[in-house]
Amino acid sequence: MPDTTRSRASSVRPSLDRLGALVTLCVVLALWLAPFVSVRANRIVAGQPLTAIEALPVSAAAALWAVVLIVAAVALLVRSPWIRLITSVGGLLSLSVTVGFAASVLTPAGDSFARVSPASGFWFLTLGMALLAADSVTRLNFTPGLRLAALALAALALWLVIASGAWDDLSLMKEYASRSDSFGGAVRQHLVLALGSLAGAVITGVPLGILCHRLPALRALILPALNVIQTIPSIALFGILMVPLGFLAATVPLAYAMGVRGIGTAPAVIALFLYSLLPIVANTAVGLAQVSPSVVDAARGMGMSRWQRLFAIEIPLALPVVLAGIRIVLVQNLGLAAVAALIGGGGLGTFIFQGIGQTAIDLVLLGALPIVLMAFVAAIVLDAMVDLAGGARA
């Protein structure tokens, strides 16, 4: 009995937007109670947490409070996804400018050792507003082209904030300033590792997937084998590869001349390549298997040769599933490539492991944040491609 009355009561009450309530709670509590920035005398000592009111001049603190309250009110009361999107994006922009401003205010003039970094309150504010923005984008149901345009706009905004120097006094940007000569190279090497292994996996994995589709016996052999590779921990796989590749480099001059070494880029790319194979091969085989038999029968009956059928009918129809596999691999590789730093493979992982070694969390972030960003961009771009490939007949 109590249950029925309760459910009736909740159906009569205007339903509360759960996400909006969560965002409201998150941003207000984060700004009010949690530290906005943390100030340290140098990059490795423990920091002193400051709330927004403690960290900022009165006028700036009041402005930030006003912005956050507006976002909270919109999240709670306004249903239009466009208004929610614009408000949350505006909130994120003012947040990013304010945190840079706090860093400038708090850094003593001429002190190059002091570090001001965003603290938990800032991250929760960012999380809450980003959640609201992401939810609005989902509700607006953008076409793939619009999603890519939105991504480009977001990238432009980020570049503008960084280029304007608004963040120059933040610890992360100071860390970047002292590494600026090696940062670009690390990003490039990271992309070489992730994209090079992906390219190799697509070139070999797609034909292998086609073979698996055509020959069930081969499929029964290959997919379990690739599954086993997938279960080997990444550090172990890098280690396992060092021995045969080192031997190859030492005994075969051609291999040495081509850059094969026991450590470095070669074992890293090969390990990532091996991890990439399963999603590509499996998705290719599954994508081909879900092509309707009547479509294949019609193609045969009209006199399409085996190759014509493969390239004109089966692969185009399997493409969305194959692209979904490529998306998994790319996001996975961008993350895994960080581990390559342990065997001298370079990439952004270098900063992460150096940072861990020096207990310098800003250096860890300098390696980790670009990886997160790249994986995020890769996911959005490939999702859009999957939608475009399947769009004609979804």
């Binding site: 009547s294 479509v295 019609a298 009956g301 009209m302 006199g303 004609a392 007949r393």
Partner: protein, 312 residues
Amino acid sequence: MIAIEHLTKRIGETTLVDDVSMVVDTGTITVVVGTSGAGKSTLLRMINRLITPTSGRVLIDGQDTMDIPEDRLRHRIGYVIQGNGLFPHRTVAGNIATVPRLLGWDQKRIRRRVEELLDLFQLDPAEFANKFPRHLSGGQQQRVGVARALAAEPRLLLMDEPFGALDPIIRGKAQADLIAIQRRFGTTIVLVTHDMEEAFHLGDRIAVMNDAQLLQYDTPAQLLTRPAAGFVERLVGSSDRPFRLLSLAKVRDAMEPGDAPGEPIDPDVNLRDALSRLIWAGADRLPVAHGNDTATAHISVSGILSHGRPPQ
């Protein structure tokens, strides 16, 4: 002309088609009818070599199909299947253009042919050419499937349960369209169905199959009046056999000289429909005439009924 000679297909111990021989005349519709698993689809798919016969052969206009490369053979034979098998990633025009493209026709000729076929199937090219199959109704998809099979002007059209997925009203329209197109182009059609009604409606000749064997191959009238003992007799020997017989004959076959009062009936109407008209009008006889011509003949209930029983 298609000559099927001692065609047999075995897979392991099972015989799917057992020593079938038959001749399909050029420009006719032959319907292969039987229960599911009777081997009708297998027989059909051996004609365009989607299935390779275990023994026996198929001759098209005297040429053994085994002597023609299989892709080239299939380019010349239209093929329509149940659920139409349209390519979901290609537009209606792209689907219809499939075989002409394989044959390397130039773009202009392909476009002209696509528009011609869309017009023929009452699909406005401006509206439908660039639509994707998922945007079409079931009946429209089926029409595109037949148009695609006819694109390269094949002399022979194979159809495997082409109307199986359509609801009765659309199916009737599709059958009428098929007959009209067959009359217009003189295409030879071999059609597989499990629907006896459809077989009698469409077939110039009907082949009845059961358990891999061809039991009887005859005209509809012969099948009704002289069915082979056993399976065929049970299949056609239902209570409405006289009505089926009446629907095979036309008013012109049963008309008698002399005028009669009332609304005239066209001589091309079948006797079953004519009888319906007589019953509804409460008349014993009605005049026979084309459109507004003056009637010089009439049709009577007793004249119609005499066509509803086997000739003595």
